[in-house]
Amino acid sequence: MSLATYTQMFRDSLSVTLKDLRIELRSKVLTMQVIPLVGATIIIFGFALGPNLSPLKQNAAGLIWISILLCSMLAVQRSINIEKDAGSDILKISGFDLAGVFIGKVISVATEIFVIGIITIITTAVAFNTGLHGIGNILFLILIMLLSSISLSALGIVFGAMFIVSNTAETLLPLLYLPLASPILLAATKASLPTFSGNGSIKLIWIGILFLLAVAYFSVGSISFEPLLEDF
């Protein structure tokens, strides 16, 4: 591929990202529906495991990542619905480079998941009284959020495209998305434990696993997206 093709691809991806984020900002689904759901999830966990704070503190990292995972699924569903409403072949006939469309959609959904994640972390740290320990750990937590957002987003975009013309998305999406997201959940929980507990420092192996997962999901996603859309 020539430089001009790459430039066009990134230009297309930027257009798709901006389009999706603009739709999100206008529709206010993220602020009016997803973020309140984050709050509701944390309150439910608090009810179930409280009022004693020690089990909440002990399990804060796991609870945060379960909340992020559940809410990320809404962001993915939302991204599917945007294209569904416009017509399933709108991307194909738009003339955009499909690799650029994939990158653009991954960035927009990853941005949403990242925002959801940051809000979940801050809310939980306050509500469960865990706090966030160590500047280094906090910076690593941001990196963990970034890598996880990219993985979850790439995963969601491909399955979204897979189910865009199907009526079974509501049941099949969680069936595939949740098992595939579980290694991210495991690694991200282990990686973020020291930030919430204040004990020890983040082990780089978890960051390494998250990085590998992000690379794997993004690569397989980018290979798959084009044939998926072409065949529909």
Binding site: M162, L176, P179, L180, L186, I205, I223, S224, P227
Partner: protein, 265 residues
């Protein structure tokens, strides 16, 4: 037998006639490979049982329960690497334009079904092993949990295969779902290294291929591995044949309907 029909169904649907399809049916029904694989599977299964129960010794620590070793690792290997590996490879061959054929989609589906069966057996035999060695039927150990996740994932893949759509759309969708599911396989493999787990790392063969157990135990395990491989090949052959017969039946139905319509005009 396989590729002729499959390639034709991709390129030219007009080549069929009832006689040609009858020939496919006859050739399939009289396949010697299927019977050879079936007989070999039964022989190796009986040999494994005989070696495991009557020839190999009890273990110093695990006693009689050590015999689970002749079943659990072979089924786990066949599920994770043989069956799901074949599904992944066949899916890639479908996605690669030069090798694209519905044959690969059918192979991927057949192998995944057998893989799911083997993986369920892996979890069941592993659970029995856990009860005798760790004292619990199930523990939330990383390898066990990720294996259970993998089972759910491939059940999801089989559900994707049932979705509606044209043949081409379905095959592409199946292949992509299989590629994503395959990402979990190395995670399960390396889970005993990455996580601090109860499940032991590979311990029968050292990295230098040195056998750490008595020869009779190693040999029995080897026969067990051969048995699960042959049973996989046998089931693959039968499962693929069922898929092929379904295609032939659909084609015959279409041809008969066309002839009926012609006779009415």
């Amino acid at each position: 037998m396989t590729s002729a029909l499959e390639t034709d169904s991709l390129k030219n649907r007009d080549v069929y006639n009832i006689d040609a399809l009858d020939a496919v049916l006859e050739k399939t029904a009289n396949s010697k490979t299927k019977y050879f694989l079936g007989a070999s599977s039964i022989v190796t299964a009986l040999l494994t049982v005989w070696l495991a129960l009557f020839i190999t010794p009890n273990d110093e620590h695990l006693g009689y329960a050590v015999r689970l070793l002749y079943v659990h690792p072979p089924v786990a290997w066949a599920a994770l690497y043989l069956a799901f590996g074949t599904t992944t490879l066949a899916s890639l061959l479908w996605l690669w334009p030069k090798t694209r054929s519905y044959f690969w989609d059918k192979i991927a589906g057949a192998s995944a079904e057998i893989g799911v069966l083997y993986l369920a057996l892996t979890l069941i035999t592993g659970s029995i092993w856990g009860r005798t060695t760790w004292g619990v039927w199930w523990t939330w150990d990383a390898r066990l949990t990720l294996t259970a996740v993998l089972l759910v994932l491939y059940l999801g893949y089989l559900a994707v295969r049932q979705m509606d759509g044209s043949d081409k759309v379905k095959a592409t969708r199946n292949a992509i779902a299989a590629l994503f599911a395959a990402i979990d396989v190395p995670i399960v493999h390396f889970s005993v290294i990455w996580w601090n787990t109860l499940h032991q790392t590979a311990s029968v063969l050292t990295p230098g291929l040195h056998l750490t157990v008595p020869l009779s135990m190693g040999l029995t395990m080897g026969v067990g591995f051969l048995c699960t491989t042959l049973v996989w090949a046998w089931m693959m052959r039968v499962r693929y044949e069922i898929e092929l017969l379904k295609t032939v039946a659909a084609q015959i139905g279409t041809l008969k309907a066309i002839e009926l319509r012609k006779s009415e005009v």
